[in-house]
Symmetry: C3
Subunit: 285 residues, 3 copies
């Protein structure tokens, strides 16, 4: 740790994984055994299995709300035991990110600014004893996160390393036409896209939205929040991720539209006309 | 806080929501960032989406087991961003309840006794910066809960307010006939009704139970606990909520009866005769 | 507690149950109310309902990662309220196990070495007031665990008792033939068997695996980790439980094979020949 960066006491270690409760509990135990005073906080321990893009997006959205100086352990690791590097990064706010070098850490590292990165050296990080080649989250990454939480300098855990970038599809816009992808579907069935919130059409306009490759476009109202829609009605808004979202009031947009993560979305701004989502006689969709 | 009410250190903030892991993790992060020493405890962060009645019943059952002085944050908020008020309450035991004014806090407030209530003023509670109109749990309610956990007096967070009551269907009884509703179905498929436990028929009697509007009645034994029933058999007992419950031994009463939350239930006391659920030759159902 | 065993401060109490979030939150509240300084850590609170064998296996795998001196509360209790004994054990490393005497604690007790066991006496453990006969986890076991976490000697909670052993099917081997059972299926669909890891065939061999009673055998490669398999391909490896595991790369072995916990598995070592899972022209399955 760079001189001058004061570490909070006790440290927070967050845990993000697709591995489910049994494996998550094992990692939690390793953290509490190796770093007894630490506060272990679950972010999401039941992410969709092996989906690095979903995990990277969700991890950034969750972890960026935590105090500077936290240690973030992320185990979504389809290549466990194979040639992908185990890494740890320090960020400019004094936080640490620990996980496999498959891009899952990259979005948060970009947000916080990367200060340094090492490839974890098992001889310097792991607990003594055998390590399972199928669960390095428990046997290598969690011990490394515990050491960082205890104040071990990053440089002592391995050699300098240049991590992978995560390649995400980029949204595009041409005039009034926005094209993107659904990044994730939340628990309510809201469709969170990769289109930035400040590209969203103005409130109280109507837009034409096409989901998937061949679907017919739908005319939807752009609203501010769910309760501006009539019950069951679909609309377009800016999500709390600050991304464009398609939602149904008190219903699942995912079910209504048959849409899922990865699907293409196209939004065309219709000619501007003042409208309100409530009280209209002939709703647009 | 009233003089003489001593706050425990460190404070407990509980979290109850239907929003699922990603949004719950964001709220947890806001709490830990704004009130670093606080202990954040999840009650249930995966409640059935948008079901205020279920949430209110479950929240009361969970939160009433926590220490006096806890701050309880409840985000089940179908009207987020709309006209419903954001509120915080102080109760007579020195606890605080924070959430939307849709009745979700009302059952616990009645149990603990309400001492004061304010409508949260965003200018006094929220963190500086933009607030998402679709996730006030993160941007308004969690910061308010953190302030209460740090000891900010309730009155500084907003103006006095009279909260909504939650209207629940009331159970009725006429002689030996009980009529109520299923309040919730637990993870085992047990049917928890709104009929008070002290209205339950005596142990070792047989009752006739009708679930739903048109179903045929079933003759069920009233037992003390699940293991008094034969394997797979349905029975009536007093649940740990202190409410009448229909359960199957090592099976799901919900699946067996096709019953769900909201369904009507009628229980008629059969003429009293001594019986035991075990060892009978011709079981009643 | 035996003289000379120093208890960590603050104590950790872990929680393992099949009861789901509402009942787990109630137990967590009882623990935090009765033992305010304690750190409550969830292991798994959503185990498969009423499955004592799965719970015992998962509990051992999780709890053995926690610091010596922890108090482990396990509520998987199909016989709640009935004649099965409520027990607490002390182990040789200074930890405590609390739960019903149905075998769910037995595997960890064997691993850690049992030092003492008592049958919990409600008059000495439970909080004053009524106890629900359907939820002793909340009203008897959690108060007992809290007392142990506060340092109450085990002997004060009840009389000496000899706990049940858990009878698990034992794996067998005859020459090159291994016969066992699937103990549990993890979140990825990996099949964790009861065959010890050190019985596994050597890496880079091919084995014939029969799942279930009547199925046709499959020729599978024995590999070191998932990424040694081609995408979607099934293989045999040593799991992080140190047991033989059948897995599919980036897929569910459970779905692929139609296999579930309890199923029989037979593994026959094929004649040894050097092979690699990658790069072969004609893969074995």
């Amino acid at each position: 740790v760079r001189a001058g960066v004061v570490r909070p006491t006790p440290s927070i270690v967050t845990l993000t994984t697709d591995a489910g409760p049994i494996y998550a509990a094992q990692m939690r135990g390793v953290l509490l055994s190796a770093a007894p005073g630490v506060t272990v906080v679950d972010l999401d321990t039941g992410l969709p299995p092996l989906d690095v893009v979903h995990a990277a997006v969700a991890f950034r959205a969750m972890a960026e709300r935590y105090p500077a100086g936290s240690v973030h352990l992320v185990i979504v690791d389809p290549g466990v035991g194979g040639p992908r590097a185990p890494i740890a990064m320090a960020t400019k706010d004094g936080s640490f990110l620990v996980g496999p070098d498959n891009g899952v850490l990259d979005l948060l590292a970009q947000s916080l600014g990367r200060r340094a990165c090492v490839r974890l050296d098992p001889d310097r990080c792991a607990a003594p004893g055998p390590r399972s080649p199928t669960f390095e989250g428990r046997d290598l990454f969690a011990p490394a996160a515990a050491r960082l939480a205890l104040g071990t300098p990053l440089e002592e855990l391995g050699h300098q390393f240049v991590p992978r970038r995560l390649r995400l599809p980029r949204p595009r816009r041409h005039g009034g036409r926005l094209v993107g992808r659904i990044l994730l579907v939340d628990r309510f069935g809201n469709l969170i896209t990769n289109v930035p919130g400040d590209w969203a059409p103005p409130e109280r306009t109507t837009v034409r939205v096409t989901l998937g490759e061949d679907a017919a476009p739908r005319s939807l109202a752009r609203v501010r929040t769910y309760s501006d829609l009539e019950a069951g009605r679909l609309g377009v808004l800016v999500s709390s991720f600050d991304l464009v979202e398609i939602a149904a009031r008190e219903g699942s947009a995912s079910t209504r539209c048959g849409a899922k993560a990865g699907d293409r979305i196209e939004i065309v701004l219709a000619p501007v006309r003042a409208t309100t989502a409530r009280g209209r006689r002939r709703p647009p969709a």
